[in-house]
């Protein structure tokens, strides 16, 4: 195996192995592992990932011999007959940039969190989730095929949902976590359908196969691109799926910084950059993406200016930039978009990590934001300003809108449940035996 392959394997496997090791240690042992042990296990995995990512970058640049670029095959993840899940990594500017940026920021946030979460009850849980996130990020970065990309993509979604619900003794983080996960999973259905369609129409799920997208009919290419766009919209909180982002701020500040400031929020955009050869020949979807991007930017900027909590304002400011980057990608400025993503991630991670101190400064040191008289007067007297202000305060009532969509589905589920109960009632023998619940009085007492 070549050194680049080893480095790629280490970049992906090291955080996964450390998370798995720590997880099994926690499960099997009677005593909780110490903070030092947790730091050691996950820290080693993350540091190995940083080193391996740096090595891959140097190899790609040609600093260690002939440049390593393009698809690097590891064989097949699975081969059954003619069907294959290719185990392939892709080395290009996109992958090496995201991989090193992601590995470095994750390691830095882990270091920051060692102090920030000292003596928190969920210390081990946080670091296991960080290991899962790092694995997902490296998979997404280096994936050379849609199946591998989707594995990483899902890991990011799962870890994100659990980070949001980290402080699970309060009701609001739990609700926010379920809401974010619901958005992710429903939008990811688009990714899955598109992935299977790509395999069927282009013969492979390799990203390289997307270069043949021009051979598809306009309907096929636009449908597949639209499904990918749907997945990207969910992950990057584009309109109308922006409602979960401010709620995601319920999680610990380090995870908010890493996910919604720096990395996870940009993953939808990364997906679109990755499938650019498909998107390029889907003008209808690109047009829609420009509109969605700009609308999200206006929405994010407006709400950020009316938000009264620091992390909420930051979340919407992030959204404004993410919307702009989507528009850049859709207009074809892919290099600018990649640079924009990198710079934006670095700025936001700093701002998020500094947010608690900023709040402290505002309250204790009198550095609160000043609202000028002419700004207040504009809102007070201008009819359109006032309306827009009210809409922004209510975040365009996006949550209500989505709830209105979900409510009929839940009503249908209740009807189906009743039908199911009747059906089971008619096909179940009358019981002469005690139910399990009646046998469990001892357990109920101990509760």
């Amino acid at each position: 195996m070549s050194p680049v392959k080893v480095a790629l394997a280490v970049a992906i496997a090291a955080p996964f192995a450390s998370a798995l090791w720590l997880g099994i240690t926690v499960l099997l042992r009677d005593l909780r592992p110490s903070e030092r042990e947790v730091r050691g296990i996950i820290g080693a995995g993350l540091l190995a990932s940083v080193g391996a990512s740096a090595f891959v970058l140097l190899s790609w640049l040609g600093a260690l011999g002939a440049p390593a670029t393009g698809d690097i095959a590891f064989g097949s993840w699975l081969r059954v007959g003619t069907y294959e899940i290719p185990g392939v990594a892709r080395l290009d500017a996109l992958s090496v940039t995201l991989s090193l940026l992601g590995a470095l920021l994750t390691w830095l946030v882990a270091r920051f969190s060692e102090t920030y979460l000292h003596k928190e009850p969920g210390f081990s849980r946080f670091f296991v989730l960080l290991g899962v996130f790092a694995t997902g990020l490296q998979l997404v970065s280096f994936a050379g095929a849609l199946d591998v990309f989707f594995a990483g993509w899902e890991m990011l979604g799962i870890s994100s949902a659990f980070f949001i619900g980290f402080f699970h003794e309060r009701a609001e983080p739990i609700r926010s976590s379920v809401r974010a996960f619901t958005t992710y999973r429903l939008c990811d259905a688009g990714f899955l359908i598109a992935m299977v369609a790509v395999h069927e129409y282009l013969g492979s799920t390799r990203f390289a196969a997307l270069d043949q997208s021009a051979g598809l009919t306009a309907l096929q290419v636009n449908t597949i691109a639209a499904l990918f766009l749907l997945a990207a919209m969910g992950k990057s909180a584009m309109l109308p799926f922006s409602g979960w982002l401010p709620r995601a701020m319920e999680g610990p500040t380090p995870s908010s910084a890493l996910f919604y400031g720096a990395l996870s929020i940009h993953m939808g955009l990364f997906l679109l950059l990755r499938i650019w050869s498909l998107l390029e020949v889907a003008p209808v979807v690109r047009g829609a993406a420009v509109v969605i991007g700009l609308a999200t930017a206006v929405y994010g900027a407006s709400v950020a200016r009316t938000n009264t909590d620091a992390k909420g304002a930051l979340a919407h400011a992030t959204l404004a930039q993410v919307g702009l980057i989507l528009a850049e990608i859709a207009l074809g400025f892919t290099t600018i978009a990649l640079v924009h993503i990198g710079c934006h991630a670095l700025l936001r991670i700093f701002q998020y990590l500094r947010a608690p101190n900023a709040i402290h400064d505002a309250h204790r040191l009198g550095h609160a934001r000043v609202v000028h008289a002419h700004q207040a007067a504009r809102v007070e007297h201008g009819k359109w300003h006032r309306r827009w202000y009210v809409l922004s305060v209510h975040r365009l009532r996006l949550d209500d809108l989505l709830d209105a969509v979900v409510s009929p589905v839940l009503a249908l589920a209740r009807v189906l449940d009743r039908v199911d109960q009747r059906l089971r009632g008619k096909t179940t023998l009358p019981s002469a035996l005690p139910t399990v619940r009646e046998e469990l009085t001892l357990g109920q007492v101990t509760q």
Binding site: F16, I174, I193
Partner: protein
Amino acid sequence: MTANQFVALSVFLIGGIIFWMPRFAGHVRGFQDFALLHVLLMAVSLLAPHGSWAFVAVAATSALHAVSAFTISRTGAVWFVAAALASIAAAIGVHLGVPLLAFLGSSLAIALRVGLAPVHAGVSRLCERSPALQSQQLATAVFLLVAHLRYIDHSSVAYDVAAWLVRVGAILTLVPALVALVQRDLRGFYRAATVMHGGMLFAAMGAAGRGHTAAALMVMLTTAAAMTGLGLMVQALEERVGAVSLLDAGGRAHAFPKLAASFVIFAGAGVAMPGTAGFIADDLLLHALWEESVWGTATVILGSAVLAIAALSAFAKVFLGAAKRSVAPDLRRPERIAAVVLLLMLVWLGLTPGIVLTPADAFFRSPSALLSLG
């Protein structure tokens, strides 16, 4: 060892380990589950020199489950008797060379054993009364499916009804997933999740009729392992705290952190969590389904997404919220070991699925005797 023998051995070990875990965890005791007889019948179903003997062996496992279930749920027992009779019909069909009878008998037996709606009352009852026994019967159902794939799925009948099975299976994946969303107690969720997997397996069976046998095998193995893990956690929790409502936040993660972690991993593995066998099973299944029905594929994807949401929601309701104290202990050592064994199995199948699946198609295509006695 030939490739076919290797696949058979792998299936035997995986099915056997899954079957043994409820016993190892201490949720099944004594001779209630006829464990050794079941293991023997599993081996017979794989090594039988003729398909009819394989179906007789799986019919015998159904009959044994009926005896085990009788003291727990009479409905479950009746269902197993019906499954045994259907398997016998399949055995007769295979013996006499009547593909239609063999296919109908085998499909009905599978539907009864995996809890396909609307013939899911038996499995539903077992889910509510004894998740451990339900887990064990799911493990032996693996061998029923293997017999179906080896001896029946090559027939023209299976080929002709494949598209129909995929569509029915897809709808019966989405409907129980929606039902799982609105359950009010934990066993209701477990029951709906089990029935949802039954629908998914039926869709996979349809795809297997057109040659995607590896997908069906992977879906069955994943379902058995993940739902066994989930069943063990449900039973472990209810042994400690009694019936678990989903109406209010339970706050049990503080008292049972290991149980909570195991619950979420097994629930996740059942809905295609990456890094586990569930991811590969879904991936394989979706590609197989697409060839039969695009809408069926989209329906299964939606069903899986909805069940994932229901699973997280159930987890949140059971374990999260203001901490509640309990004098009951977290998972005992045998329960933890059982959870880790199942987890490692799911991760192993998820990371290196090719070891079992790559030679599986050839195994199912050539249903010859695995042992040469001459």
